[in-house]
Symmetry: C2
Subunit: 334 residues, 2 copies
Amino acid sequence: MTTMVKVAKLAGVSISTVSHVLNGTRHVGEETRQRVLKAIEETSYRQDALARAMRRSRTDSIGLIVSDGGEPAFAEMIRGVEETAAHQGITLLLANSAEDPDREARAVQTLLERRVDGIILARAAGSGAEALADFASQDTPLVLMDRLSDDPYDQVGVENRGPIRELVEHLVSQGHRRILLVAGDTRVATLQERHDEFTKAMAAAGIAPSDQLAVIAAAPAETDAGIQDALSSARPPTAVIACSTVLAAAALRRIQQRGLRMPEDIAFATFDGFAYADLFQPQLTTVRQPAFQVGTTAAELLTKRITDKLAEPSVVRLVPTIEYRASTGPKPAF
Amino acid sequence: MTTMVKVAKLAGVSISTVSHVLNGTRHVGEETRQRVLKAIEETSYRQDALARAMRRSRTDSIGLIVSDGGEPAFAEMIRGVEETAAHQGITLLLANSAEDPDREARAVQTLLERRVDGIILARAAGSGAEALADFASQDTPLVLMDRLSDDPYDQVGVENRGPIRELVEHLVSQGHRRILLVAGDTRVATLQERHDEFTKAMAAAGIAPSDQLAVIAAAPAETDAGIQDALSSARPPTAVIACSTVLAAAALRRIQQRGLRMPEDIAFATFDGFAYADLFQPQLTTVRQPAFQVGTTAAELLTKRITDKLAEPSVVRLVPTIEYRASTGPKPAF
DNA sequence: CTGAAAGCGCTTACAG
DNA sequence: CTGAAAGCGCTTACAG
């Protein structure tokens, strides 16, 4: 492998000069500069980012830990983070916790060992406060993504409450009173927020608690059982709101299996649903998250934090759009 | 930040000993070992992977460059690579070329500068031979993923020809003769293989060339126009095969818009389609790629190559499964 | 069983 | 306008 020593020798200069030509860190006589450039070319020298990073104690790399890289929304966030980072010459180290707090903790350690300049973390369901302990005690910047908390860090996610409230109001305005929320694992902050706001919005609409149906469960089998119970009960819901893509799929399967027509027999809406919700029949009412933008924003918050470690943490909530389609009947008037 | 020097001082040993305790590289007296461990604990020392990598000229990291991180299939491959790498204590550096050969070339340079132990590359459409030049001239291992070529590298992708042939035969056996292949950008190796085999299978089935319809186009708008032309022609196809998720979405939109019923008016099958093809109505016949496994296999090939640079390159083709559903009418007998 | 020291490939004051 | 040299935090022969 070629190093700066070889380049310097060939160009007849010191390695200082090679370094300065490479990084533009001080003026170098034009003729000398050209000799160095030519030597770099001839030796096909490539800078060693590791040695450079060690000397500068800055790696120009960031770490991203997602809780489920398979989910379409997370795939988009990853893209957003990568794109913003790449634009700034920053390399992305990616880890997937697969909703396992232990894997999450190990990923944090690995990234810290690799001296990333900062970390973006979408926490795993059930990840406790310990996960963040390492950040409090040292100064690697941290940005919380998607799944937010009360901790004093920069954070970016979506506004979960508004869309749920609007969805409830829309359904109620069409005469629905008995509504089922497929909430899933409410240890996940986003799902917790959606469930909480559902309860509030239903109460605000004057719906009796006995008509506020919810399936809360961590395991897919439990979720499925909950959905079946609700659909086959003596007084089944007339509308369903699913809180994520997997939950929507689970609910749709059972709805289709029972031969229920949407929206005649049952109205259906989903948070963060399918990539091609308009190809379903009927087309599905969907709360669409700006996932890519969540990613770009996370990367921007992190690079800002890296250059200014003392600023107040900021919490950004991006606003999803609700795409009303046939599965919830006629669109709202506005 | 704590370094080994501080730990050594506290434990009253040399940094050699600390290093050996950390890595288990030579025997250390039990009492001494305990003292070192305690010192590490007390100082909350964390090994510096950068310094370690520089000394060992091995980073325990690999690079992955995908052509489109947003595509569900690629998201799965990324998951597969990450999981296998993490299991072996290897960190993943991720880059997205977004089908841009220039970005791909830059990503290769960046990863090489970071001295990754090897690179997995899913080439961008239109990426030429130059992209691989850097690998031929030096010894960073390379594995080609998904989009294969004739170059002498380890490769892993799926068997594209068999499924297309089977699909054609199935449709022909049901009386279809005029079949439209939505092939997309045939500069992409996978799409080229699918198109090529389509032509062969149709010819083998005795279908006249004039009934072998194909939409070949790089831009989405062109693709859409091609689909419309085909569907609105005097002799429209009675069956459609789409070669990717985006192509399937484009075709389905136009089919639905024209009010065509599947499979009565037109049969439909797609390669590598939607995550929830069973929720569509009618359910969609889909060639499902083992994308996650493509990722894990790529990572395995790479780590093998890293430990043995001289072995013959191996090319792995994983076999997709065809899920026959209502959109192509009655299932085949076998 | 353990330590002193060279060196991985850079950046960056310091000096002229 | 340029160079000599220290040092980033480790690993690993070499020596005892």
